[in-house]
């Protein structure tokens, strides 16, 4: 069961990361980047590092994506 979750999280991270790179529109790429963070949160939690998982959920998937969106808005790409 744990192995299945780890495998699915790895595959999801790889697929979402490829989608992030291949995305044409920048805001969509930022939202997919948050998906990469979400996959790594699952991975950290399964590997028994809940502290790191909480940090990744708050900073990697939350604040950094907001800062990216603000930068994109500043360059009038939205």
């Amino acid at each position: 069961m744990t192995g299945l979750i780890i495998l699915m999280a790895f595959i999801a991270i790889i697929v979402v990361a490829f989608a992030t790179v291949l995305q044409k529109s920048l805001p969509d790429a930022v939202i997919l980047f948050m998906g990469v963070g979400l996959g790594s949160v699952v991975l950290f939690f399964v590997f028994q590092a809940p502290d790191v998982a909480l940090t990744e959920a708050v900073i990697g998937a939350g604040i950094s994506a907001i800062i990216f969106l603000m930068a994109i808005k500043h360059f009038k790409e939205v």
């Binding site: 998982a53 909480l54 940090t55 708050v58 939350g62 604040i63 800062i67 603000m70 500043h74």
Partner: protein, 235 residues
Amino acid sequence: MNFKRDISTRTYSGFALSALLVLTILNILIQNVPSKIHRAGETLLGVNAQEGVANAVTTVVVYFRGFDTLGEIAVLFIAALGIGLMLSAQTKEADKEESNFILQKASKMLFPIIMLFGVYVMIYGHLSPGGGFQGGVIIASGVLLLLISDQTFEVPHAVISALETFAGISYVFIGLIGLIVLDRFLGNFLPHDISEMGMLFSGGIIPLIYIVVGIKVGSEMSLIVQNLLKRRDDD
């Protein structure tokens, strides 16, 4: 001509020397370090119980590496300072547009819950996963929600700067009291009996320091978010 050959000779010998160096270091690493790393982790976990803190990660971050945490906080402070210098917060003029009605009402309902969760993560950092950094950033994300939904809202500058100064000073002050009482910086001078492990009041100064770190990180991240969001759009 001669000079050119000289350079290429030097380059090749440099490559060979660095390859030799890398191989030697790899050899030393492979032979020695894994057992030592294992032993270091075991030692830390063994010593952890003496401080009476249930979350071993918190003990390492706040106590064994407390001075490094002070440095990290200084780095975050300098980042906030730089962002404040580059993009000082000036509210946009007349072109404020009202945000969505549902966003306005829902954010007013969600904001106290997010704050409560942030404070919970901060205060229970020595018992459960989480701590000052995470709790502070959760509080800052609540402030961010309020900033997005309500265009007229601004973070009260005087309160934030007072909180931030208080937190920074009290971190160093706790460390200095430890230096005076126990003869080491950030020594655990409050009672931290192992029989109290898992209670809210346990671990001596460790929960105090994590709360202080949370206050500092929360105020700094709120200011960073406000500076980024409320900047003028003209260059």
